[in-house]
Amino acid sequence: MKELTTYDRVLIARDKKRPQVSKYIEELFDDFIELKGDRLSGDDESILGGIAMFHGTPVTIIGQRKGKSLEESMRFNFGMCSPEGYRKGMRLMKEAERFHRPIITFIDTPGAYPGKEAEEHGQANAIAESMALMSSLKVPIIAIITGEGNSGGALALSVADKIWMLENSIFAVLSPEGFASILWKDGSLAPKASEVMKITAKELYDFGLIDDVIAEDRNMFKVIDKKLQKEISSLQKLSQNTLIENRYLKFRNIDEKKKALKVIKE
């Protein structure tokens, strides 16, 4: 079989037939209660949140979703989250901490919504606050990039103890189209941009920016189930201080493996 190009993977990651967060909930968890609203001004449906049972343990789920039908996609704003969505996420994460529930986030977004209201309501602040909150939560957090993980809109829910990516998902500073139009003034160069940007699960794993790659085969859900069980139980064995300290060091030294920095000796 011919090796997939990065842009092939971009298209696979965007495929509407790909499992979305509701499918993961159905396959991986026993019960799920959705919780809505940010308690400030609205409920952003591009983020699905709630409590689920995972092998007898309650966990908090926060997942981005694009929708399948046109009607759904419109409701979910094609997965482009607004500040209300990130604030709902933060509210649910604080609840998770209060009740000692591990948090699992599912990432799939073309990016945070670049709209007028989103800006008025503090899109930048919401993203920053979500990352800051996640860095200090006293419960285990696992982030799984299931489809498209573009820009701060994806990173806002990815400050986790472990970041996993599905084999054909992407994680990028922005969409290849955006990258091509900013740097080369031509959005149609997206396929070339996607190669240059190094956004595949394998490349990011080799850089040390993510922790694992999940093969997309028939056993995928079973594999995720096993990995979640193992990881959550080992994270739960850590003291709260160690958990937070480890997460701090993970992000503090995120560019260490690649040795991305050097200092000229004077």
């Binding site: 945070a112 919504y113 670049p114 709209g115 007028k116 989103a118 800006e119 008025e120 309501h121 503090g122 899109q123 930048a124 602040n125 993203i127 920053a128 606050e129 990352m131 800051a132 909150l133 860095s135 200090s136 820009s151 701060g152 990173l155 806002a156 990815s158 400050v159 994680f171 990028a172 500073v173 922005l174 990258f179 900013i182 740097l183 240059v196 940007m197 190094k198 956004i199 990011l204 850089f207 920016l209 997460r247 701090y248 992000f251 503090r252 995120i254 560019d255 690649k258 040795k259 991305a260 920095l261 050097k262 200092v263 000229i264 000796k265 004077e266």
Partner: protein, 283 residues
């Protein structure tokens, strides 16, 4: 007087004229984007890089910023000489860096260190918008994180002047991850009781406005600065309409509840000093 003397005199006069003209040429002038007035750089520098005629803010170099905030000769730079190794092997990134070094006279898009403000010791970071539009790559993320840790370790207040086009494209996901890195480090600093004053200057956008810059205990902006997540052009493309005048500028953000205050450039040092004193930081 001989005829040759007349020519000699004329030559001397011309030389003198040329010399004086050259002297004038040496003094660089800048044009105000609002009122189109021409001003000598030295005149602008004395006026905090603010247009003397219409009060429009010119962008301020990191060096001038530090001079306007820190007590004289108190600034000590940290992590000088740090550079990125081009982590995603972006074509000609090294050349781009060289070009920007020459243009901005700085080695990266942020300068960090410790200084005194009216005698109070502070950790400070100032972004340089002339270096690759102040974009955040690994060096910016590391310097911000390291100076925040210095502030935490020595119980110093942290003051960051942001000016940035966002995450640096040329370092790909390494740039995006700097948002998580700086937010994590800032959060810990604040949790431990540190004071972080974030000052937005024109422009602060994308990956910087959506990470450490937004996390100040107190958020201050200069007048008329563009502060946003997505830039105006991107939004106009998304919603298919023109944005109102002043949208995403300081005054608008203040009204939307996203800022604590707008402070004129010449008053920043005094305002920061008053805030430091109210948080029990003393000389």
């Amino acid at each position: 007087m001989e005829i040759s003397d007349i020519f000699k005199n004329k030559k001397n006069r011309l030389d003198k004229l040329r010399r004086t003209r050259r002297k004038v040429d040496v003094e660089e002038t800048l044009e105000c984007k609002r009122c189109h007035g021409q001003f000598a750089k030295s005149v602008l520098k004395k006026n905090f890089m603010i247009c003397p005629d219409c009060n429009k803010y010119f962008s301020m170099s990191a060096e001038d910023r530090i001079r306007s905030i820190a007590d004289e000769k108190t600034f000590k730079e940290h992590l000088k000489g740090m550079y990125s190794v081009n982590p995603i092997d972006f074509l000609d990134y090294d050349k781009v860096i060289e070009k920007n070094k020459n243009r901005s006279k700085r080695d990266e898009a942020v300068i960090t260190g410790v200084c005194k403000i009216n005698g109070i010791k502070c950790a400070i970071a100032v972004m340089e918008s002339q270096f690759m539009m102040g974009s955040m790559g690994t060096v910016v993320g590391e310097r911000i994180s390291a100076i925040t840790e210095v502030a935490g370790k020595h119980n110093l207040p942290l003051i960051i002047f942001s000016a940035s086009g966002g995450a640096r494209m040329q370092e790909g996901m390494f740039s995006l991850m700097q948002m998580a890195k700086t937010s994590t480090v800032i959060e810990k600093f604040k949790e431990n009781g540190g004071l972080f004053l974030s000052v937005y200057t024109n422009p602060t956008t994308g990956g910087v406005s959506a990470s450490f810059a937004a996390l100040g205990n107190i958020l201050i902006a200069e007048p008329d600065a563009l502060i946003c997540f997505a830039g105006p052009r991107v939004i106009e493309q998304t919603i298919g309409e023109k944005l109102p005048e002043g949208f995403q500028h300081s005054e608008f953000l203040l009204k939307s509840g996203m800022l604590d205050m707008i402070v004129e450039r010449q008053d920043l040092k005094e305002t920061i000093h008053r805030i430091l004193v109210m948080h029990n930081y003393l000389p």
